[in-house]
């Protein structure tokens, strides 16, 4: 079972910026235990571009698709046998990243 694990930051109350060593160590463990599928941190939402090509021609707009205080700072894809395993890892991930985590199953 695969889960999308989103790291959520808050513009008005951001998590600490010194987490990278701890995150790297946590990633090593995810790999060793067979949970790691993918991981990536994301650039600021200001760097996002939204494209809508459902009409006559493609429309490009600057910025994220939704402006909000909370935003996606990074993602993981994990392999886990069930939600309990994923939630346990996510609880650790929240501590490691000093940020909120959302766990959402793939179809």
């Amino acid at each position: 079972m695969r889960y999308l694990v989103s790291v959520i930051d808050d513009k008005s109350n951001p998590g600490s910026t010194d987490r990278q060593p701890a995150i790297s160590a946590f990633n090593e463990r995810l790999i060793a235990e067979g949970h790691w599928v993918f991981a990536g941190g994301l650039a600021d939402t200001d760097a996002a571009t939204v494209i809508d090509n459902r009409g006559e021609q493609a429309v490009f707009s600057d910025g994220p698709f939704v402006e909000s205080k909370e935003y996606l700072a990074g993602v993981w894809v994990w392999e886990a046998p069930d939600l309990d395993v994923a939630l346990k890892l996510a609880a650790e991930a929240s501590k490691v990243c000093d940020r909120k985590i959302e766990v959402r199953p793939f179809l």
Binding site: M1, D82, L83, L87, V103, P105
Partner: protein, 413 residues
Amino acid sequence: MNDGDVREAITRTHREEWGRVVASLTKRFGDLDIAEEAAAEAFAAAVERWPADGVPPNPGGWLTTTAGRKAIDRIRRENKRDDKHKEARMVYDDDPPEPVGAIDDDRLRLIFTCCHPALAMQTRVALTLRMVAGLTVPEIARAFLVRETTLEQRITRAKAKIKAARIPYRVPSAEDLPARLSGVLAVLYLVFNEGYLATGPGTDPLRHDLTAEAIRLTRLIRALLPDDGEVAGLLALMLLTEARHTARVSGGGELVPLAEQDRGAWDASLIAEGHRLVRERLAAAAAGAAPGRYQILAAINAVHTSARDIRDTDWSQILALYDHLVGLDPSPVIALNRAIAVAELDGPDVALAAVDRLDDKLADYHAYHATRADLLRRLGRSQQSRAAYDRAIELAGNTAETAHLTRRRDQLG
């Protein structure tokens, strides 16, 4: 056997076997939806056939077999349309769970799945009452004053989430058990409290159906996990509270405070059972087991129910227990209840000072204002007492409590 006997046998079997049938079907078919529907169909078949064929010698076995056939019929029907079913099976491990208790019962898996922390509290309550206790959707909707369609949606969404997110069907590992069990007990306590002090103008002030259901489920968990102290504590707390229920509301529909209750109307056998459990936990505590909050709350209720007259109440013992509880759970509601014991020992003025310190946290809690009103009344500060009663009446959701507070306010000089 006449029709009445058969009806009674069906009702009794439903009460005793529903959760077991749903649990074993969920394990077999890996799907709560199929289990629930097949169990309902099997009970419908019993209603149809038992009056003519007679009650089978093993009603639970008959129901499980019948429900299993119904489930297979449904899966065959659906597989013709959709072959994805097999992929969506719930996961469970075939290994026996960690040795948490004497019995490995599928109902325990079911309870832990229904009370999973990834589900909202209201959803856990609804799902537990439907799947484990076998209450119908209209019964649960009525109990919690929500529309049937809303409740039906809540249950449907929960079943879909359990499947899509793979919430497992198993008893948590020994390491996770205490935290997960405390989540289960919170659900049961919430069901009990809603019955004990029902909210809403349209309901009876006491909902015996809910308190009875909560006690029945807690007894079940106690049977499955007999060594857990908090399970014993919660059961004792419920029994000692339930024992007073006939004395808690007057003939006129007014809530009767503990001090004014007719103690002769208390249920002696429930009290004896509750006291037995509390003694069992006291012995465990003496042997070094640290009691949790339900055990301490049960002990407080044991002290109350040991007094034949309110004047015989051992308030210093109650205060000592509250002090212990504050150490575990520093919530303002516990502090408020502690202040009531302080009033008996040190006087209402000392208690009022303690209560007033909770103002910023409990300003919207009816019991805070009711407690203040009572203390102010005892101090002869009628005008302030009246204002506090007004606010308490405004906030109270229970009809019997409102009636009691209104009479008290109107008696002020």
